[in-house]
């Protein structure tokens, strides 16, 4: 079950928008950075961004709903 819409928006919505919109905007851009297409550079930026989004979802919305391992 989805327990928090904010968690879904941050943990799933933000990364999806970042990846899809970034590709659509930059796919046709011929700029090279260190010899590689700029669209790759955007994808690399999305890695830490996604972890940050998931961490926010976990830390502020979801963690408290899951009991600690070993807790009954």
């Amino acid at each position: 079950m989805i327990r928090s819409r904010a968690s879904v928006v941050i943990g799933l919505g933000v990364p999806v928008v970042a990846v899809v919109a970034g590709i659509l905007v930059l796919a046709g851009n011929p700029t090279l950075v260190f010899g590689i297409p700029v669209v790759f550079c955007w994808m690399f930026c999305c890695f830490p961004l996604t972890t940050a989004c998931l961490w926010v979802s976990w830390r502020f919305f979801d963690s408290r709903h899951y009991r600690q391992d070993g807790e009954r």
């Binding site: 879904v8 659509l24 796919a27 590689i36 297409p37 669209v39 899951y66 391992d69």
Partner: protein, 500 residues
């Protein structure tokens, strides 16, 4: 020198597998297949990234960019990244379903949830058909790596060595081997990729000084290439956890362990910039390779001294062996628990081992006679594994899905996936996996709307071990009797027959 390093690392990994197995020695089939469902978050993390970043990452990813341009690289990165976001929400539910039905394989879950032996068999057959090319994918990569060592090994000898080592991993400690060996593999794989990427930059980079050389790897993508990249990201990120997830979600000790470990998985992808640099270096400095799959190893060989090349080869070899072992274990488990009728629980571990050996032989034979571009094989695997997605959605979210509709959808989806893979229509760039998955969905849920099955508690809505406000448990107790009743009615027979 290269061969000595690779052999030493592989021997060390075997020793680690033996050490890892000491905790579960003498355990039954549950210990062998899902580690007694006891893995903490950090071990789930390494098991998951160990299986996700297979030899396809080191060998297949650069070869895709080399042969097909940036579109292949972009979809590869995009689908893994979004799969983690999606997995953060669905992976705990997958674990919950496995826990509820005491399942060790996906067909276990489907067969017990729908109380249908035919559906269990159809699911098992679908996953077996799907995982054979996945095994082949690892074998192709291992063949490339072993061939690049400069030894006079034939393709047959290469795949034979790989198969024997993977088999040894599993015999000594089941699923604990891939989990612990993945830690060693990560050290070598990360070192190897960073070394090649940095060497490419220091050697003049993937720069533009010879920009006229690379024809396939242009800097931009549009039209069909862009459509293919976007639809593949959507399609494969959806399949990622539902198709492959069982092997690295089921061994977790709790939903919390699954969810919390997923948070950090995207950070592991920071290794990809180095791979992209290496791929574009290969594009510009080694154009016209006869076999695009060799581009990473050719680049490494041209840039690094022998000892460093040994580290690269060791990292690649371990990553392939690890996933090969994990895949073989999954297949062995399905054969002994779901396909073969009436195997006693005490004999399941033995039968699993036999099935593992048979799968490794089959995968090796396919690789020798039908080697192809790795990312093409990856697409086929995903198209086939996608056919379990509607079944999972029914288990997790739907109440009255009919087992017959799920099975019919799965069969139609597999047939359509194979036809589309062989035929390869353009479809305007749309990933054909979406077509077969859509047809499957239509049959599964359309058929169930017309002929609904008996009501069953959806896993996502009931039986949750989560806490309510104020830290009080709720949900689990409320529906416990309902679930137990459903289990007694539906899955009781199968449980008794199989003995858990």
């Amino acid at each position: 020198m290269i061969v000595v390093i690779v052999c030493a690392v592989v021997v060390a990994s075997l020793a680690l597998a033996v050490w890892a197995g000491r905790a579960g020695r003498g355990g039954g089939i549950s210990e062998f297949l899902v580690g007694g469902r006891s893995f903490p978050p950090w071990l789930i993390y390494f098991l998951a990234v160990g299986e996700v970043y297979s030899i396809g990452t080191m060998i297949g990813f650069p070869s895709g960019i080399y042969a097909q341009g940036p579109g292949y690289g972009v979809w590869f990165l995009g689908y893994i990244l979004l799969a983690y976001s999606l997995g953060y929400f669905v992976a705990p539910l997958i674990w919950r379903a496995a826990k509820r039905y005491d399942a060790m394989t996906v067909p276990d879950v489907f067969g017990r949830h729908f109380a249908s032996r035919p559906l269990e068999l159809v699911t098992c057959a679908t996953m077996l058909i799907a995982l054979i090319p996945w095994g082949q994918y690892q074998f192709i990569g291992l063949q490339v790596v072993l061939s690049a060592l400069g030894l006079a090994l034939s393709p047959v000898q290469c795949v034979l060595i790989a198969g024997v080592v993977a088999f040894c991993y599993l015999v000594v400690s089941g699923v604990r081997s891939p989990a612990f060996v993945s830690i060693l593999k990560d050290v070598f794989m990360l070192a190897a990729i960073v070394a090649v990427g940095l060497a490419a930059v220091l050697a003049g980079g993937a720069g533009t000084e010879r920009a006229s050389a690379p024809v396939p790897a242009t800097a931009t993508m549009d039209g069909n290439a862009l459509t293919f990249a976007l639809t593949t990201i959507v399609f494969q990120s959806l399949v990622f956890y539902f198709g492959f997830g069982g092997s690295y979600v089921f061994p977790a000790r709790s939903e919390r362990a699954v969810k919390s470990s997923t948070v950090w998985m995207p950070l592991y992808m920071l290794v990809y910039p180095f791979l992209v640099l290496a791929a574009y270096y290969g594009v510009r400095h080694h154009p016209g390779l006869e076999n695009p799959n060799t581009v990473f190893m050719v680049t490494a060989r041209g840039l690094l001294p022998d000892w460093a090349l040994g580290v690269v080869a060791a990292g690649a070899a371990l990553s392939g062996l690890l996933v090969l072992a994990a895949t073989a274990l999954g297949i062995g488990g399905m054969v002994s628990r779901n396909l073969a009728p009436n195997v006693r629980p005490a004999a399941q571990r033995r039968w699993t081992t036999v099935a593992v050996a048979a799968f490794l032989v089959l995968g090796a034979v396919l690789t020798v006679y039908a080697s192809t571009l790795m990312l093409t094989v990856l697409n086929l695997t995903y198209m086939l594994l996608a056919q379990v997605v509607p079944g999972w959605l029914a288990v997790l979210y739907a109440r009255r899905t009919a087992a017959g509709a799920v099975a019919a959808g799965m069969v139609l989806g597999v047939v359509l996936a194979v036809v589309l893979y062989v035929w390869q229509p353009s479809l305007g760039g749309v990933n054909s996996g979406l077509i077969s998955l859509g047809a499957n969905m239509l049959v599964t849920f359309g058929g169930s709307a017309v002929w609904p099955g008996p009501a069953r508690p959806a896993v996502a809505r009931h039986g949750s071990p989560v806490l309510g406000r104020g830290g009080r448990l709720r949900g689990a107790q409320v529906v416990a009797e309902q679930v137990a009743a459903a289990d007694r009615q539906g899955a009781g027979d199968a449980d008794h027959r199989r003995g858990g």
